[in-house]
């Protein structure tokens, strides 16, 4: 085991890792950041999505050592400085974009990356942007509404069209 150092949610952190330690294990076990979930462990479901240097990736399919020195952001880094919910999180709450909540960390991280790249996505762009995130509860409609609302668009009006 060697110590692997990276920046997580703005803080420099270090924890032991083997070559085969996945980024998600490093976050959950090494750093105790259990907000990032493991659903499938085979890059299908998207529960494990975090940002690495600003881009959404599936942390179950990245070795921690591969991103040594990178800037990583997880769901724990998405709230506002005063602890209130961030814009995307709040929109998921307001529009019932979650039920059991298992997929939500990954949904929120994917949404944040999508909106950073495309601040006013169409409904079709939202659906394409979320294709790597699977939710077995909501049926997706409320998630799509939440994403549109987080982008400042009138989700209900778009849905009614």
């Amino acid at each position: 085991m060697t110590n692997v150092t990276m920046t997580v949610n703005g803080k420099s952190v270090s924890a032991p890792a083997e070559g085969r330690t996945l980024l998600v294990e490093y976050l959950r076990t090494g750093l105790g950041l259990t907000g990032t979930h493991v659903g499938c462990d085979t890059s299908q479901c998207g529960a494990c999505v975090v940002h690495v240097d600003g881009r959404a990736v599936k942390s179950c399919t990245v070795f921690a050592m591969d991103v040594e020195g990178s800037d990583v952001r997880t769901i724990e880094g998405m709230a506002n400085a005063d602890g209130s919910l961030g814009v995307v999180q709040q929109a998921f709450q307001d529009h019932h974009g979650l039920q059991c909540g298992f997929c939500t960390p990954g949904m929120v991280m994917t949404t944040a990356a999508l909106l950073a790249e495309n601040p006013r996505p169409s409904e079709a762009e939202v659906r394409h942007g979320l294709e790597g995130n699977i939710c077995r509860c909501t049926g997706y409609h409320n998630i799509v509404k939440a994403v549109l609302a987080a982008s400042g668009q009138d989700a209900d009006a778009i849905a009614a069209q």
């Binding site: 085969r20 990736v57 399919t61 070795f63 591969d66 994917t110 790597g132």
Partner: protein
């Protein structure tokens, strides 16, 4: 996953003999979790300086480490090689395309379920053991170029577009050379474990695109669900027309063979002709004359026929098929 020694390569020369290369890791990591790949030494090349898209002759040089998402979004690619951008965006998901690289995408392994199931026979995974797909569940298997030893397909989308565009793979190693993408993947024969022209100790450094072709480019992918699934069949088409006649046609089919499948006779039959349904039926029949199937994948023959015709109608401005 079996433990291994991890090494971050500092240069192309810094790759020990016998080591396994990892780039984006989106395919290799799964194979390692399943213990289909069990490298002793893993060399991470993802930090090497091979991530640029630059002009080369009249075309472009795409570094082997350019991420699929960056390649798909590149303005020159979108303008001059839109079929490549479409094919990339039709594959995997955003988070995977953010990691996946050009070289790794070309080298991705088959999605044959028996290849993934260590309890079954597979000549690709364990040469000489047999092929459990023969007489097994064979929905996503090849209809062209299969052998009694292997019916697996190459599953990727990007290479199908690259093949139709006439791109080349740049290989570094003791014998540096370029190989057309259309010749890069090998049919199984009796050595299905040898999948490409890349030899041990070699590495892909770039993909070279020729000068852009004027005309229409299309990528049509048919899959079991609307997103995030591999192709059952796909078609990349690059079609040039002058005065209502087809003057150049390149067609590559995905999901149907161990390589993007092209048929020079089918392409030649289109040249010099005006687009029509009769012509496209004839072209599809030429393409499919060498197809063979088992019960489980017989649906791919009519599916490819329809997909090919629809793509040709669309690319040549006949009404899109209803």
């Amino acid at each position: 996953m079996k433990p291994f020694a991890y090494h971050r390569a500092q240069s192309l020369r810094d790759i020990p003999d016998g080591a396994t290369i990892i780039a984006g890791g989106t395919n290799l990591l799964d194979l390692m979790k399943h213990e289909i790949a069990t490298p002793n030494t893993l060399v991470d090349i993802s930090h090497l300086d091979l991530n640029r898209i630059e002009p080369e002759a009249d075309g472009l040089r795409i570094g082997a480490l350019v991420r699929n998402s960056d390649l798909a979004a590149d303005p020159v690619i979108r303008r001059d090689y839109p079929v490549l951008s479409r094919a990339l965006l039709a594959g995997a998901s955003g988070q995977l395309r953010n990691m996946a690289t050009t070289g790794g995408n070309l080298m991705q392994r088959t999605r044959c379920p028996y290849f993934y199931d260590l309890r079954t026979q597979c000549n690709k995974r364990a040469p000489g053991t047999g092929c459990a797909a023969m007489g097994g569940v064979i929905r996503n298997h090849a209809i062209f170029g299969a052998s009694p030893d292997c019916v697996a397909t190459y599953p990727g989308d990007m290479a199908v577009a690259l093949s139709a565009l006439g791109a080349e793979v740049e290989i570094a190693g003791p014998d540096p050379r370029r190989v057309p993408v259309a010749d890069f993947h090998l049919l199984p024969g009796n050595t299905p474990h040898v999948e490409t022209r890349l030899r041990p100790g070699e590495i892909i450094t770039a993909v070279i695109l020729p000068a852009p072709v004027t005309g229409e480019q299309r990528y049509r992918k048919v899959r079991d669900r609307a997103s995030f699934a591999f192709a059952l069949v796909s078609v990349a088409a690059v079609i040039t027309m002058v005065d209502g006649r087809i003057t150049r046609a390149a067609l590559a089919c995905g999901g149907v063979a161990a390589k993007p499948w092209r048929d020079p006779e089918c392409e030649a039959a289109l040249v010099g002709r005006e687009p029509s349904d009769a012509l496209f039926e004839q072209a599809a029949s030429l393409m499919l004359r060498s197809a063979s199937s088992q019960e489980g994948n017989a649906f791919k023959i009519p599916l490819l026929r329809r997909t090919l015709i629809a793509t040709l109608r669309d690319a040549t401005g006949l009404e899109p098929a209803p």
